[in-house]
Amino acid sequence: MKLVESMFPFARIPYGTWGSSYFPGWQTSPLAEVNIGQFAGEAMANILGKRKVRRKELEYLVIGSTVPWHWKFWNGPAVASCMGQRIPGFQMEQACATGLSAVIVAGSEVNSKSYDVAGVLTFDRTSDSPVGVFPERRSYRRTEVIADVWDNFGFDPSTGSSMLSTAGMTARKYKIDRAEVDELTYLRYKQYFDTKKSGFLDKCLFSFDVLNVQGRLLGTISEDVGVREISLQTLREQRELDTCITSGTQTHAADGMATLLVSSIEKAKELSTRPEINIEFIAKVDIRTGPGLMPEAPGMAVKKLLDRTGLTLNDMAVVKNHNPFAVNDAIFAKTMNYDWAKMNNTGCSLVWGHPQAPTLTRTLIEALEEAVDLGGGFVLIFGCAAGDVGTAGIFRVS
C-alpha cells in the first residue's frame, strides 16, 4: 500500500461500530409512517447496543438529513435524546453528498481534538414528502408550494432542469450506449443478490421492529423492500425515459438510516471488536460540473482526489459509487478508463435505493467491510449530488 498522509491523522473509524437499516422503497414500509428523526435516534442506540458500544461513549453527534422532518428545528439534540443520550449535535446536509460529508465533519471534530468520540447519523424519509409553503414575492403566484422530494427532483433552480434530464444529457455527451447501460445494470443487480445470498449484508445491516403509537408491532424493516431480481431481457425491453434512462436503469426513492462512529486512535481500539483494524481518513473533495451534467461530476471528483493524493485507481482495493443512474458508472468507466465490472461489488444505490442522506453512509459501511474482507487497502467511495456536484473520499483500511 502506498504511503499517503491522512487528512485527519488523529481520527479513526472504529471497525464494526457501524450499521444501517435496510432501505425499503418509497411508501412500501412502516418507515413511511414514522418520524424518521426519532426512528434514526432509536435505531442508532439499538445498533450500538448490538455492537456492544455504550451510547454514553458518544460526546457529539453529527446528523445528516435532507428531507425535513417533524421537529427538525431541534436537529442533533432532539435525535440524540431519542437515542437516549443528552449530547450536543450538529445537522448538516447537501443532498446525496450528505452521507460522506457527515463522516468528514465528524472526522474533523475528532481530529481537532474537540471530542474523542463523535457519532455520525444520517437518515431520510422520502415517503410522504413534507410540503412546504414559501412566500416568494418575486414569483407570479406570490406563494410557492413544493413537495420537498418530488418537486426538487424535478427542478434544479440553477438550471431549470430535472435530475433525470441531467442523466440523459450527459449520456448523450459521452455517447453512452443503451446496451452497455442495460448490461451494467444487470450486473449491478447480480452483485447485490449474490452479496445478499453470501450473508455479507448481515455484517452491515440491521432489522428493526417498528411500533405504532399503541406500542404494537407496525411492521419489521428487514429487507430492501421493492428490490427484485431482474433479467437482462426485461431491462432491454423497458421504455427509454431519456437517453439510456429507463425505470430499470435508475434508482428509486427509499427510506432509511445509517450510522457509524468516528473516534480518536485510542478510543477506536477500545470501542472496536477488532482493535487491530485501523481505518483512516485519507482525503475528500467535492467538485461541481457544468449545468445539467451531474453524472460526469463523480468521475471528475475522483480524478481531482487522485491527483491530490498521488494515488491511482489501481491502488484502490474497493471502489464504490453512489449511482442513481446506471449511466453514472458507464460515464465514470469511460472517463477514468476503468472497468465498471470491478466496482460496486457488494451492491449499490442504483439497486437498493436512494434515501439521500444515508446513501453514501451505507455505501461507506459496505465498502469498509469489503476492504476488511479483502485484507485491507484503500477504499474509494464517490457519487453525484443535486446541483451537478460530485463528491469523493478515500479511506485506508489496514
Binding site: 414514522v34 455504550r54 421492529d209
Partner: protein, 692 residues
C-alpha cells in the same frame, strides 16, 4: 417448622391464638397504652403532613384512630400546598361520605416555621410524633429537639428516613407506598413496642427490621432500579423496554413506578438511597451516571408522549443471560447482604418485595427457585460485568441455608402441640410456591403423627385470601397441558386436606376468601369463618374455569336443595357473607373470637355439635341446567363464560370423585387457551406483560 412472623412482634405464635381462643391483643388495650385512657387521651402529631408520606399516613391512621377519639394534629409549613384535602375523594370512596367527614373532622391543622412549635399544640397533649419531613439530617434533629423540649415523654418515629435509627436518635418506621392504602410498615426496634403492636391491632402490617442503612423494600426497589439503570447504560436498551422485561420476568416496573410517583421526587429518593448505600457498602449500590443525571434533572424515565417508543428491542439467548446477570445478580447479592445482616424474618423479607415492589415471586423465593449454586453463578456473572461490586457486601455462604425451614417455608408454616396442627399461609394468593410449601407442611404434620389440623391465614401478613395467583396461569394460555397439569397438581394438594387428616378445619378470618383459596378450603372437613368475611368464586368474571375442583367438590358435600345457592355463587361471581353461607358452603360463622374457639374445638375433637359432611363419591346427575336471578345476561362474554362453567360443573359432577379431578382439570386447562379467556382479564394481562 419455623417461627411465625407474628412472634417477631411479640404477639406469640398462631397456634397460641387458637389455644387462647382469642387474638393476642386488642386495639383498645394498645390505644390506652400509647395515647392514654379514654377521657385523657393524647394526640398523634404528624409533621410534614401535606407531603406524600405525611398526607397518606394522616389518612391511614386518622381513619383507624378516629373511633378512639384520638386527635390527629397535622403540622406543616405555612403556604405548603394542601396535601390532605387531596386525599378526601379517596377517603369518601373507601369509607363513604359520612365516615370520611368524620375522619377529616378529627384532623387539626397547624402551621409552624420549622423551629418554634405552635403554642396550642400543648393543649392536645401530644403523645406520639410521626415525623415525615424531608430527609435532611440536621433539620430532622432540630425538629426532634424542639418536640422533646416541649413534650419530654413523646414517642417519636421518623417515617421518611433511610438513616439508621442510631444516626437519627429516634425510632424509625418505613411505610410502603402508596401510603394511604399500603399496610406494610418496616419498623426498627430492639423490642416490639406498644406502638408497633397497635399498628397490628389496627389491621396494618408492621414488620420488625434491623437498624441498618435503608430498609428492606428500599434495598430491593432502589437496588433494582439501580441495576436496571446500569443495564441501560451498558446495552443502550431504553428504560421503557427494560421496564417491560423486568415486569415480564420478575413483576415490578421500576421506571414506570418512578414516573407514576413523580419522577422529580422519586428519582431523588432512589438516588439518595443508593448513594448512602453505596457509601456504606460500595459499588454494588453506587448510583450510575444516568441515575445521577435523573436525580439532577428530575425527568421521567419513559419517553414523552410525542416520542412514544418506535423501535422495539428484543433479546437473544446471550443477551437474556446478560440481562439476568445485570438485574438478578445485584438483587441476589443485595439479598445475601441483608441475610448476613439478619435484617428481618425471611418470610417478611421475601414478602416485602411482593407486597410493596410488585415482585411476582419474592426475591428469596426466586433465589430458592434457582438454587444456591445457580444463584451464586448469576452473581458471579454479574461480577464479571461489574468487578468492583464483588469487593464488598457479598455473602455467598448465606445461600447454603436454602435447605432450612426458614427458606423452604417462606409462605406456609406448620405448628402443632402434639394433638392439633395449625397450617398458616401468609400469601394472599395461591401459587406454585404455596402449593409446594403446603405439601411440605402437610408432610411435616403427618410425620409428627398429627391427625387434626386447622388451616388458616397467618394473622399478620395475609389479611385475606384472594384466590389463585393468576400469573401462574400465563404459561397455560398458550399450552392447555400446562393448565391441566397445574389444575391436577393443585387439586391433588387440596384433596390431601380431606384425605390425610382425621379432622381438618379451614379457618377464614380475613376480609375475604375467594376463588382458588375457597376451593382449597372447602376440601377441609369443616369450614369456619368470621361472620362478615366475604366468600366468592369470581372466576366467571375473569373468565376462567376453576381449577381446584370448585365445580364439583362443594356440590358433593351439600344437599341437592342447596345446589341453586352454589350455582349462583359460581355463575354470578358475586360473594356472599360467611354468615349467609352456613349450612351449604361452610359449617360455622361467628365473631372472630367465637370462630377461633370453634375452630380449635372442632380440631381437638371437642363437643362442637357440627356434623361432618360426607363427600359424595358417586356421579351427581341432577345439577340444574339453569338458575334464576342471574344478572347481566345480555353480556355476551359473561354468558359464554357461564355456559363453559356450567358445562364443567355438570361434567365433573356427573363423574365419580376419582374421575372428576381429571375432568375438571381438562375443562380448566383447555379453557385457558380459548379466545374467551384471552380476551378477559387474565388473557389481556398476559398479553400486556408477557408479550413484550
Amino acid at each position: 417448622m419455623r417461627s411465625s412472623t407474628l412472634q417477631t412482634l411479640g404477639l406469640g405464635s398462631i397456634i397460641e391464638i387458637f389455644q387462647n381462643g382469642k387474638l393476642p391483643v386488642t386495639a383498645g388495650e394498645l390505644v390506652d397504652q400509647v395515647f392514654g385512657k379514654a377521657g385523657n387521651r393524647g394526640a398523634l402529631v404528624i409533621t410534614g403532613a401535606n407531603g406524600i408520606v405525611g398526607a397518606g399516613k394522616t389518612m391511614q391512621l386518622g381513619s383507624r384512630l378516629e373511633p378512639f377519639d384520638i386527635p390527629i394534629i397535622a403540622l406543616d409549613f405555612p403556604g405548603v400546598p394542601d396535601g390532605i384535602a387531596k386525599q378526601y375523594p379517596g377517603l369518601v370512596k373507601a369509607f363513604g361520605k359520612g365516615n370520611a367527614n368524620k375522619v377529616m373532622g378529627n384532623i387539626i391543622k397547624y402551621s409552624y416555621d420549622g423551629k418554634t412549635l405552635p403554642k396550642a399544640l400543648a393543649s392536645h397533649n401530644p403523645k406520639f410524633l410521626l415525623e415525615a419531613i424531608p430527609e435532611i439530617l440536621e433539620i430532622k434533629k432540630d425538629h426532634y429537639k424542639a418536640f422533646r423540649e416541649s413534650f419530654p415523654d413523646i414517642d417519636i418515629w421518623s417515617v421518611t428516613s433511610g438513616f439508621p435509627s442510631s444516626q437519627l436518635g429516634v425510632g424509625i418506621a418505613h411505610p410502603a407506598f402508596p401510603h394511604e392504602v399500603n399496610k406494610i410498615w418496616e419498623i426498627v426496634e430492639s423490642t416490639p413496642s406498644s406502638s408497633s403492636k397497635l399498628l397490628w391491632a389496627l389491621g396494618l402490617i408492621p414488620m420488625q427490621v434491623s437498624d441498618n442503612w435503608a430498609f428492606v423494600l428500599d434495598v430491593f426497589f432502589c437496588g433494582l432500579t439501580g441495576a436496571a439503570a446500569r443495564f441501560n447504560e451498558t446495552t443502550n436498551m431504553p428504560y421503557w423496554k427494560i421496564d417491560k422485561y423486568i415486569r415480564k420476568y420478575f413483576g415490578p416496573n421500576p421506571f414506570r413506578a418512578h414516573d407514576a410517583i413523580g419522577a422529580a421526587g422519586a428519582n431523588f429518593l432512589t438516588w439518595s438511597c443508593l448513594h448512602h448505600l453505596g457509601q456504606h457498602y460500595g459499588e454494588l449500590f453506587t448510583p450510575s451516571d444516568n441515575m445521577n443525571e435523573k436525580k439532577e434533572s428530575g425527568s421521567n424515565w419513559y419517553p414523552l408522549d410525542h416520542f412514544r417508543p418506535m423501535v422495539d428491542w428484543s433479546m437473544n439467548e446471550e443477551e437474556t443471560a446478560e440481562f439476568d446477570a445485570w438485574i438478578l445478580g445485584p438483587l441476589f447479592q443485595m439479598t445475601s447482604l441483608m441475610l448476613h445482616e439478619n435484617r428481618s424474618h425471611l418470610s417478611q423479607m421475601n414478602l416485602i418485595g411482593e407486597l410493596c415492589a410488585q415482585f411476582r415471586k419474592g426475591v428469596l423465593a426466586l433465589i430458592r427457585h434457582y438454587g444456591a449454586d445457580a444463584a451464586r453463578k448469576i452473581v458471579s456473572d454479574y461480577h464479571k460485568l461489574q468487578p468492583e461490586a464483588a469487593k464488598n457486601a457479598w455473602y455467598p455462604k448465606e445461600f447454603d441455608k436454602i435447605g432450612s425451614p426458614e427458606w423452604q417455608q417462606l409462605y406456609v408454616n406448620a405448628e402443632h402441640d402434639g394433638k392439633v396442627g395449625v397450617i398458616s399461609i401468609n400469601r394472599e394468593s395461591y401459587n406454585h410456591d404455596v402449593n409446594a410449601e403446603l405439601n411440605r407442611a402437610i408432610d411435616y404434620l403427618k410425620s409428627a403423627g398429627i391427625e387434626n389440623v386447622i388451616i388458616t391465614g397467618d394473622f399478620h401478613i395475609s389479611t385475606q385470601m384472594v384466590g389463585a395467583d393468576t400469573t401462574d396461569f400465563f404459561p397455560a394460555i398458550e399450552d392447555a397441558n400446562k393448565g391441566i397439569e397445574l389444575s391436577k397438581a393443585w387439586s391433588a394438594t387440596a384433596r390431601r386436606l380431606h384425605t390425610d387428616f382425621k379432622n381438618s378445619v379451614g379457618f377464614i378470618n380475613g376480609k375475604r376468601c375467594l376463588g382458588g383459596f375457597l376451593e382449597l378450603m372447602v376440601h377441609c372437613h369443616y369450614l369456619v369463618a368470621e361472620e362478615n368475611a366475604a366468600l366468592g368464586m369470581p372466576e366467571v368474571t375473569l373468565p376462567v374455569i376453576p381449577g381446584m375442583e370448585g365445580c364439583h367438590w362443594p356440590f358433593r358435600k351439600m344437599q341437592a336443595g342447596n345446589y341453586q345457592n352454589l350455582l349462583k355463587l359460581i355463575l354470578s361471581g358475586k360473594s356472599v357473607k360467611a354468615k349467609d353461607a352456613v349450612g351449604w358452603l361452610i359449617d360455622y360463622a361467628g365473631s372472630t373470637e367465637d370462630s377461633i374457639k370453634m375452630a380449635l374445638k372442632i380440631a381437638s375433637g371437642g363437643d362442637h355439635g357440627i356434623a361432618k359432611r360426607a363427600v359424595n363419591e358417586n356421579p351427581i346427575s341432577d345439577i340444574p341446567n339453569e338458575i334464576a336471578g342471574l344478572e347481566n345476561n345480555e353480556d355476551e362474554i359473561l354468558s359464554q363464560a357461564r355456559k363453559a362453567l356450567l358445562d364443567c360443573i355438570k361434567n365433573s359432577c356427573n363423574a365419580t370423585l376419582s374421575d372428576a379431578i381429571s375432568i375438571q382439570a381438562k375443562h380448566s386447562g383447555e379453557f385457558m387457551t380459548t379466545k374467551l379467556c384471552k380476551k378477559g382479564v387474565i388473557g389481556s394481562t398476559y398479553t400486556k406483560t408477557w408479550q413484550v
